[in-house]
């Protein structure tokens, strides 16, 4: 069993220049990290022989609406070896995208866990976060030509009238 202390020690040894914010609540460890190391961090967590977080349980996001760094992307991992769950998250801000438009993006972790594929697609569908390097970033639940992101705070609960056409009566 690995504790929050030893985990943070490992992370500091591995990424000496990075600021982590590691907290533990009722045996659950949460790590806050800067978004640029996301792939390196995921590779480390998966392939380190003491950690072995082989299962990517979930990827989702939080919309803080008015905060400057608007979204938090949250990853949930599970290690069979340690019977341990780990949550780690990072804040992302609006940035320049390909095509010159502003948007929200982060590197895709599909190269580390295949399971991340659909989870990232779902997060993209609901929050409009672009996962760079994702092999097939299409909408998951909403129709393909839908223009909005339903779980964003500025999306009205009842949707935008007429945005999804119904068949004629």
């Amino acid at each position: 069993m690995i504790s929050a202390d030893s985990l943070s020690q490992k992370l500091i040894n591995q990424f000496p220049e990075t600021n982590f914010d590691i907290s533990e609540y009722r045996g659950e460890i949460t790590i806050q990290f800067p978004k640029k190391i996301v792939i390196d961090l995921c590779k480390f967590l998966k392939y380190d022989s003491e950690l072995e977080f082989l299962l990517c349980e979930d990827i989702t996001a939080i919309d803080w609406a008015k905060r400057k760094e608007r979204f938090t992307v949250v990853y949930h991992l599970y290690s069979f070896k340690n019977n341990l769950r780990l949550r780690f998250k990072t804040n992302i801000d609006e940035s320049e995208q390909s095509g010159g438009k502003a948007g929200y993006s982060i590197d895709s972790v599909t190269s580390v866990w295949q399971a991340a594929n659909w989870q990232e697609r779902e997060t993209y569908d609901m929050y409009g976060i672009n996962f760079k390097g994702h092999p097939d970033l299409r909408r998951m639940y909403m129709p393909e030509d839908f223009e909005y992101y339903p779980l964003r705070k500025d999306f009205p609960l009842m949707g935008i009238p007429g945005s999804i056409p119904l068949p004629k009566k």
Partner: protein, 173 residues
């Protein structure tokens, strides 16, 4: 002990074509089970020996719309599903009837959100709204009986030939 025992010796009876057609139509309604979510479980229960929809002549649930005359829409219809429901409705031959089973189908129900159609009558004509979440199987049987009443009151003059401009075009060429 069948119907023929009523005829005694003479062996014939008089009726109108409308009454005979309506009677045979209503006694063998073939449902299209449009089971989309939880209400579909209750719809399946209607076919089991306890409730036994066969007592009402409707046990032939057809999974092809081309052989059905009653569509039971059982479940939450999302905007993404709506074109599918409409397409299946369009594939059913006339005359046809629709039961909107459950709160979701009739009004959107508990799903008052952007993704669920707030009542399927926005895109298909509905003959009967069935309340409940989910409606009990006996309630669905009750709806079937009400639909049978409605069918029993129809006359041949009520149905116009469907206008199929595409078909005319094919025939004329």
């Amino acid at each position: 002990m069948g119907l023929e025992s009523l005829f005694k010796e003479s062996g014939f009876f008089t009726t109108t074509i409308d009454a005979l057609v309506a009677w045979s139509r209503k006694s063998s309604v073939w449902p299209m089970p449009m089971g989309i979510s939880c209400c579909a479980i209750e719809m399946m229960a209607v076919a089991d020996p306890k409730y036994d929809i066969a007592r009402f002549g409707s046990e032939v649930m057809r999974f092809t719309p081309r052989q059905c005359d009653l569509m039971i829409v059982a479940g939450t219809v999302t905007y993404k599903m709506a074109p599918v429901v409409r397409k299946i409705y369009d594939q059913m031959p006339e005359p046809k009837w629709v039961i909107a089973m459950g709160a979701c189908t009739a009004t959107g129900g508990i799903y008052r959100t952007y993704s669920v159609v707030q009542g399927i009558d926005q895109f298909v004509p509905v003959d009967l709204y069935l309340a409940g979440c989910p409606p009990r199987p006996d309630n669905l049987l009750n709806a079937l009986i009400a639909i049978q009443d409605k069918i029993g009151r129809t006359k041949a003059a009520d149905f116009k030939n469907a206008e199929l401009p595409e078909l005319n075009e094919i025939q004329n060429n």
